[in-house]
């Protein structure tokens, strides 16, 4: 190591970028930036929720019938799975804060496993079932068109919202799984320690946000008008 490089390393740790005074300022900027992105995500999903509210108000009958064509058991099970993955993600961030590499990797993998379980339940027990029962809106699959004669057009509208909202949520989860795969790879290469774990922290914020979206989707899609009339 040359003298200049040695002096440089003594002045600041390699993970601290030059334009920040100290690591607190760098972490603060990172967290704030991630929250700014999440605020745009709140507005993005907020637009969908607003559209949902209007059409549910206009065609309540259809939304009510559509909701009862979903099985709330799977929705509730997936809520539990996703809340569990939020817990393991929070514990992963905690392990990163304490510089525990093995625990960090284990909790990240556990979070990924629960995320995959969520998507698996959705795909195997819900979406494929909707496909077989002609509940996928439009003419996307020839021969498996939406059964408008049996259910009526307003129910089809409900399923448009159902697939759009759960689909976008699932897309966010797939992105989250990709981010976590990168985190596992970085952690395995020893890129994080008790001083530097900002990527784990901000990725955790994203994962918890996706959890929050589902916390609203579950009652709004699965529990319209309750389960008492079934």
């Amino acid at each position: 190591m040359t003298d200049a490089a040695a002096t440089h390393a003594a002045e600041h740790p390699p993970y601290l970028a030059h334009h920040f005074t100290d690591i607190e300022q760098q972490n603060e900027a990172g967290t704030l930036g991630m929250w700014l992105f999440l605020v745009t995500e709140i507005m993005f999903f907020g637009g969908l929720f607003a559209a949902y509210a209007i059409y549910r108000y206009m065609y309540f009958d259809g939304f009510y019938k559509g909701s009862h064509l979903l099985d709330w058991h799977y929705g509730a099970a997936n809520t539990a799975v996703l809340i569990g993955s939020s817990l393991t993600m929070a514990l992963a961030v905690r392990a990163a804060q304490l510089g525990q590499r093995k625990a960090l990797i284990a909790f990240l993998l556990l979070t990924m496993l629960l995320g995959i379980a969520f998507l698996g339940i959705k795909l195997t027990f819900e979406w494929s079932n909707d496909y077989r029962e002609h509940l996928i809106p439009g003419h996307l699959f020839p021969g498996m068109e939406f059964d408008t004669i049996k259910h009526g057009p307003a129910v089809q509208l409900f399923f448009c919202f159902y697939f759009f909202m759960t689909g976008l949520h699932a897309l966010h989860m797939i992105v989250g799984l990709g981010i976590m795969a990168v985190l596992v790879w970085m952690a395995a290469r020893g890129r994080f320690d008790a001083g530097y774990f900002a990527p784990v922290e901000v990725s955790g914020l994203y994962w918890h946000f996706v959890d929050i979206v589902w916390i609203f989707l579950f009652p709004l899609l699965y529990l319209i008008g309750g389960t008492y009339k079934q």
């Binding site: 605020v39 607003a50 209007i54 539990a80």
Partner: protein, 113 residues
Amino acid sequence: MSVHVVPVRTYVTIFLLLMVFTATTVWVATIDLGPFNTLVALTIAVIKMLLVILFFMHVRSSSALTKTFILAGFFWLLLLMAFTLTDEGSRNLPPPPDGWGSATVAPAAPAKP
């Protein structure tokens, strides 16, 4: 550096509370409260969201600037919901076309914070 490490017990407690609230929202759905079913479900969802934001996302111990950003985001969401729904609710909408079913009598989906 000053890292605020939260004890494992806190995270587990929040997780259990979230599970209890999930069970509650399913249980309440078995009782006929009329339009209030939606209100109760959304209230429980907001409580769950606050638990996740404050504890899992560490907003409880984050800076005032970050908190301001988050509150601004939710304020804008409130504007989006409130103006959209008041506009829609104050219009004389024609009845749904044949086969589209009837609209709800009760106000559905109140605005989220």
